[in-house]
Symmetry: C2
Subunit: 376 residues, 2 copies
């Protein structure tokens, strides 16, 4: 029994995120924990429940059967092991769950550690609005375009939009499941998951065949947060499971981001709360996410600004005169001077300068605003 | 010529926000500045432009004519003078404009200083969306309901929605204009302004009859920021004038707040930028604004949360069992135990406890989820 086989076996024993097993493995190594449990006997010489279950397992066969289906088991020490997961060792558990997973079952052509090098999780409500779905897909496509891997949970709503956005941009994407990677949950997403398995990665700490449960979803969320540099929450009502992922991202010192929406939309309420009261960064575009998650200075966002217009570069004096020039019916300099509160001689000079820029033009009996809309 | 009359006269001389006059008045007092300018002569003994203009004024008559129309002039030293305006003395100018106004022309039944005691400006785009308009009105009504005075600029779009929201909640509201308080700009708002003048306040630093210009709008914005404890920007494209008010609020150390919207809406882009890159607080409701502007601890917002459900208070073990109970067709404890990965004897105990809460119920041949939706 080596370390890898012991991890495969132990993963069948408890629920994912079981701190007791994670802590013992961190201290003693999986092999010794496995031996301890296996040899544990009660006074009557009868195998304990856990020991009995370990005896019934054949992890070597489990590995070879998985391999036959293109599924590998990645554990600490492997080249493919993403270092981010080790951060789970130092984090306070949430609802008594946490810890580094024993290993990850992985399906797909990417190398896990490499794909997670610059990765962002995009998560949110299962009952997303069409707005949320569209924005999640846009941001995921943006991120993929900037070379980041999009990680999500393959659920209905925001998760699937995020995966599809990344796939549409031919970018890498990772689905982290709360069931075995050989299962599709929700089953309506089996084709999406197959496609992700062919081009990206499908990942889970649960053994093959395992069904999803609420506890497993909560444990899965810590992996989504830990595998990525930052978590973007697109839509989340105040009780959304996505907030659990946000919670993990915060505890793991990952960048926590939220995409705002209408304040009238219950689907955005949880996100607004993250920004308002939990210090999540507001992001509206993939580039803004990149600026926060990419190594310092690699991505700098241009502040959005409108086109520069001729009228932007006027002096105060020119601006005052321009404001006094009528839009349609030309007015003589004397009348413009009265309106502007400036002496006529100066107004005449300024009008000539403004005429050069096209902002005003001569008409019958005086000056009016320029008619070329491009130059206003 | 006393101080008040000198201020009335000097206000006719330059544009509002003219730092040269504001600084001289702060140093010497309005009376002396008035005398200096009035006596200024060039070598040929001809009056200068400014001196000539002062000679043509009759501030005493201006005051009495205004009074006949129910309009008063409020200046530093008056009981009604809002102390917040004095903060403009210490702030760097924006586009060479700034400074404490010489005085304010005021129309309406409220006492200005008192109304500004707990006041919030709600500003935004003139080309607001229906979303922005509705949210501005809601927040203004909320603020009015909490006893705060809503200050805005009476423009199309967000401004008017804010005023109307406050009026609808029978709350105090102040319109700060970039023209004389005897004028209505935009003219379509003359009835709104009349109504505000009857129940709240219409305020401007411009003399009666003055027309609005771009320079005057920019100068006016500093008053909106200075008169209030905080500024809420509801919708603003990246070049919106509302961002100028936000700029002033920031420089004046007032609370700067933004209401988010869809990231797909250009009308919210400027607001998101304020939150993202300028540290504005995200607010979605009037209560959240109150929490930020009211004296510490006077208003505390309850975090939005969904109703507490029976399933929220389960132990991990109970949760695991509940997850394994089928929704529709009852299953025997042995089958539930297999699914949950827990020994049958324990599962049976847990099922009885869950049965007490209504989360599961006995059916033919076993247990299934409870059918009372209220108790799930």
């Amino acid at each position: 029994m080596n370390e890898r086989l012991a991890r495969v076996a132990l993963a069948r024993l408890g629920e994912p995120g079981d701190l007791r097993i994670a802590e013992q493995v961190a201290q003693l190594g999986a092999e010794r924990v496995y031996e301890h449990i296996r040899e544990e006997q009660d006074v009557a010489g009868v195998h304990t429940d856990a020991a009995a279950r370990l005896h019934g397992l054949d992890p070597a066969r489990e590995l070879s059967e998985a391999a036959a289906r293109g599924i590998r088991f990645v554990c600490p020490g492997d080249e493919e092991w993403p270092r981010g997961l080790d951060d789970l060792d130092n984090v306070e558990p949430v609802q008594r769950r946490g810890g580094v997973p024993l290993g990850l079952w992985v399906r797909g052509p990417l190398r896990l550690a490499e794909a997670c090098g610059l990765s962002v999780s995009v998560v949110g409500s299962r009952s997303a609005t069409s707005y949320g779905g569209a924005v999640a897909a846009d941001i995921a496509a943006d991120l993929a375009g900037h070379g980041a891997c999009v990680v999500s949970g393959a659920a209905f709503g925001i998760d699937q939009s995020a995966h599809r956005g990344a796939l549409a941009a031919r970018g890498p994407t990772i689905a982290v499941l709360a069931c075995g990677v050989d299962r599709a949950y929700p089953s309506a997403h089996h084709r999406l998951l197959d496609y992700i398995g062919e081009t990206g990665l499908v990942v889970s700490e649960l053994p093959l065949g395992a069904a999803p449960t609420r506890v497993r979803f909560l444990a899965r969320n810590r992996l989504i947060a830990a595998l990525t540099r930052g978590t973007v929450v697109v839509e989340a009502a105040v009780r959304s499971g996505a907030l659990n992922t946000a919670n993990w991202a915060e505890r793991l010192n990952r960048v926590l981001m939220g995409v705002p929406g209408p304040v009238t939309s219950a689907s955005s309420e949880g996100v607004h709360e993250l920004i308002r009261a939990r210090g999540a960064a507001l992001v509206a575009r993939g580039a803004e996410v990149m600026e926060l998650v990419a190594p310092s200075g690699d991505f700098l966002v241009d502040l959005p600004r409108g086109p520069v217009r001729a009228s932007d570069v006027l002096s105060d004096r020119e601006r005052q005169v321009l404001d006094a020039v009528p839009a349609v019916r030309p007015a003589p300099p004397a009348s413009i001077a009265r309106t502007a509160g400036i002496v006529e001689s100066e107004v005449s000079c300024v009008l000539l300068r403004l005429g050069d820029t096209g902002l005003v033009e001569r008409g019958r009996g005086g000056w009016r605003r320029g008619t070329d809309p491009e130059r206003r």
